[in-house]
């Protein structure tokens, strides 16, 4: 047996890759759980409430001025108008007409001020909550929630990612939590290739193969690091779970009117798939869109992009409410930073972490809340600044996790789950 086989989570996910690894373990390790927490009792309490997260990531940086914090008629305001919303006195960009009517169901933080203005550092730093540097790699929010809330009873993985392009198992998201808390990415919202058992392999043969694989994995795991072996088993378990839930990927089961409501765009489709994953019980669903880094032609780009997001997210909100998921689902939409007030020669906006906005909803957040404000030109935060650490504290609290008393156990090293210099934004919590 070649012990230098590639790790399956390093590959684009396919059944062949998942099941073909030589190191499958006999004992499935479960799909998550709360092991590794200093306060495991939190898990029992959370189980009763069953919170979930739908996290929308607009990669590259949506402009706050063309979305949640418009400054029409000012030096950096751009060409678009602001429109009134369902919350008296609150205006957002005219590019978000549907969300304007749902403003009373969402909350905006306009006082986000973060540290990084580069994508390479910013994406990870934001999604890891920018904790203090302790020489370890913190998990992304999705991995953190997967760890802290566990997988629930769905039998499905706790952290999935519906994304454009290719899929795979993104173990890097997990940081020190260990590879099995990485994200299972469905490229273009589709299941891993060749997921189903080939018709030439009988059920009986398949069972025998699995038993053999389990035995081999047990032997492979002896004397090796636990987390690597766990991850091998984990992806195998995931494949088995997905084989049973092919219906999740059957787009024919979705009524035509839903595709229309979400918008027949890549984002609309992915968001609708994300909703279905949420309904299936997955704890953390990330849906993302690429192409928001509008250094050039920013206004035409936002004119094209933002209404598509507006349509999809408004439809999603309706569904969360109609299906009784709004109260238990934390909906977040954000990027790694905002965009410069200054408009460059390419009629674009560059990266701006100094003052930007995040939209969120559900899960006990105060509907219609608008937290903080920027100055008249939108260049800086005029009220208390909120870093990503504040948002992590707030989100954890909304999910029922006290970020001050809950810690990770990283091989006996206790680590805070959110930046201890920050706190939850209390006025955002209903």
């Amino acid at each position: 047996m070649n012990i230098h086989l590639c790790k399956p989570w390093e590959h684009q996910l396919s059944r062949r890759q998942l099941l073909g690894t030589a190191a499958a373990a006999a004992g499935a390790l479960g799909l998550g759980g709360l092991g590794g927490l200093v306060q495991p009792a939190v898990g029992e309490e959370l189980k009763k409430k069953r919170k979930q997260v739908l996290f929308i990531w607009l990669d590259g940086g949506i402009s706050q001025l063309e979305s949640w914090d418009p400054k029409p008629g000012t030096q950096f305001g751009g060409p678009f108008r602001a429109i009134p919303t369902s919350v008296p006195g609150v205006h957002i960009s005219e590019l978000l007409p549907r969300m304007a009517k749902k403003m009373h169901q969402v909350a905006i933080v306009r006082s986000v001020c973060t540290k990084d203005n580069s994508h390479s550092a910013g994406v990870a730093r934001i999604q890891r909550g920018d904790p203090k540097n302790r020489g370890v790699t913190y998990p992304y929010f999705g991995s953190a929630v997967a760890k802290l809330l566990g997988p629930g009873d769905s039998g499905l993985p706790p952290y999935v990612w519906v994304k454009p392009g290719s899929g795979g198992f993104i173990h890097q998201d997990a940081g020190f939590l260990g590879a099995k808390y990485g994200s299972l990415a469905f490229g273009d919202g589709r299941p891993p290739e060749n997921l189903l058992r080939h018709e030439s392999v009988s059920e009986r043969d398949n069972l025998e193969r699995n038993e053999l694989r389990d035995l081999a994995n047990k032997r492979f795991g002896q004397g090796r690091r636990k987390d690597a072996n766990e991850a091998n088993s984990y992806v195998y378990d995931v494949a088995m779970a997905l084989m049973k839930r092919q219906d999740l990927f059957d787009e024919k089961k979705v009524p035509d009117k839903d595709w229309d409501r979400y918008g027949r765009t890549e984002f609309g489709r992915h968001l609708l798939i994300g909703r279905r994953m949420l309904e299936a019980g997955i704890t953390f669903v990330k849906v993302n869109s690429y192409g928001w880094d509008t250094h050039g032609d920013n206004f035409n780009a936002h004119r094209s992009l933002v209404p598509k997001v507006d349509q999809g997210v408004a439809a999603l909100l309706e569904d969360l409410i109609d299906r009784g998921l709004y109260e238990s689902t934390l909906l977040i939409m954000m990027s790694e930073f905002g965009r410069t007030p200054r408009i460059n020669g390419h009629v674009g906006r560059d990266h701006w972490p100094e003052a930007w906005s995040v939209m969120m909803a559900g899960c006990g957040l105060k509907p219609g809340a608008v937290i903080g404000k920027t100055n008249n030109l939108g260049t800086h935060v005029a009220t208390e600044e909120h870093d990503i650490g504040h948002l992590f504290h707030t989100w954890f609290k909304a999910l029922g996790i006290d970020a001050h008393s809950t810690q990770y156990d990283n091989n006996s090293q206790p680590l805070p789950i959110a930046h201890e210099g920050c706190h939850a934004i209390e006025e955002l919590l209903a």
């Binding site: 690429y290 250094h295 560059d350």
Partner: protein, 356 residues
């Protein structure tokens, strides 16, 4: 005018005269038909004015009343006193421009629902055409602003032009369609295919027909934009397509730069039968290009002005104005100048052709 190719550059190479510094960014510049004034539509909701009749441009009080960005600006060709302007908040208006205090003639507050992208005036001065992000092209009576036509399109509109015979209006959309509307019947007559000026990149619609312009005789229709290669920070080749008006066929495609040069922002035809264009791409990339249709390449190109957004030919045919962008216009994060966060400006470069 039949000028030998090798003489074109000798006669029409632009020689710098002055640079007008602005406090804000401008989207469009145009000379008045009398040649005395230069007007600029600002990204501050103002129309800026300069008297350029003397040796030194003299700034006149700017005209307010618009909102957002003033993107449409065209003069009445005959009466020498009226200018038509339109803004990104949907307003179109007419006003007198020569007196120190400009006087309104008419205005339509909601000419479009949102961004009016372009405005054109007919050669006979009777019609004004506008188009916008509400996917409509509209025709107005120049005298009083009465709406005469409203043509519904399926996509956002970026550009509009009226044929010199005043029988047709053309409007160019996001996806590279140029629709011709017959003004007598109010019906669509033809579609010109400029789809190379569009690309869907992931979720983003990139490009569009950014400028439409007829030549003096109305025999050629120029459609300008970008042949996009990628979205987000849009990249592509600044392109001008020339259509034969009689047949509707594309005669040629002019590539004005490289992939990072992106958009052809503005056009003007010179009476000596060549096309003048300006481009703007990645910050710092801007070009002024002169190209006589039928020739294999441009006879003049300059990249000395950063991110050029508009070009205007003086009515004497011997001068021109190009609006560019202040140097070092881009940068991530906090960029402070003397402790202040400053915006960019659009210096307006005045030139005289070498041939005088």
């Amino acid at each position: 005018m039949n000028i030998a190719s090798d003489k074109l550059r000798q006669l029409f190479e632009p020689k710098p005269l002055k640079v007008i510094e602005t406090k804000r960014q401008m989207s469009i510049v145009r000379f008045s038909p009398c040649g005395k004034l230069l007007l600029a539509g600002g990204c501050d909701g103002l129309v800026h004015r300069w008297d350029v009749s003397g040796d030194k441009p003299v700034e006149l009080p700017a005209v307010d009343g618009h909102g957002g960005w003033v993107c449409g600006l065209a003069f009445h060709p005959q009466d020498k006193s009226t200018v038509f302007t339109a803004d990104s908040w949907g307003q179109a208006r007419a006003w007198t421009y020569a007196a120190e205090k400009a006087q309104p003639k008419w205005k339509v507050e909601n000419a479009h629902d949102g961004w009016v992208r372009d405005l054109a005036v007919s050669r006979d001065g009777k019609l004004v055409a506008t188009c916008g992000m509400d996917r409509h092209a509209c025709v107005w009576a120049a005298a009083d602003g009465k709406k005469l036509h409203g043509f519904a399109h399926s996509e956002d509109l970026f550009s509009v032009a009226i044929h010199p015979d005043t029988k047709s209006v053309v409007a160019g959309d996001l996806k590279g369609n140029v629709l011709q509307w017959d003004l007598a019947s109010g019906k669509q007559a033809r579609t010109f295919d400029a789809k190379v000026l569009y690309k869907l990149d992931r979720l983003q619609d990139c490009g569009g027909v950014w400028r439409l312009l007829f030549d003096e005789k109305g025999a050629t229709l120029a459609a300008a934009g970008c042949k996009p290669s990628s979205g987000a920070t849009v990249q592509g080749i600044p392109t001008v397509l020339l259509f034969d008006w009689a047949s509707g066929n594309q005669k040629t495609s002019l590539a004005l730069g490289e992939n990072i040069d992106a958009f052809t922002h503005d056009l003007a035809f010179h009476p000596a039968d060549f096309l003048m264009a300006v481009t703007s791409g990645q910050p710092g990339r801007g070009k002024v290009v002169f190209w006589r249709p039928g020739e294999p390449k441009a006879f003049y190109e300059s990249n000395k002005i950063e991110n050029c957004h508009s070009i205007a030919l003086h009515p004497d045919g011997r001068r021109l104005a190009v609006s560019g962008t202040s140097r070092g216009s881009n940068g991530n994060g906090r960029v402070l100048k003397n402790g202040q966060y400053v915006g960019n400006t659009s210096p307006i470069h005045l030139f005289q052709f070498a041939g005088g």
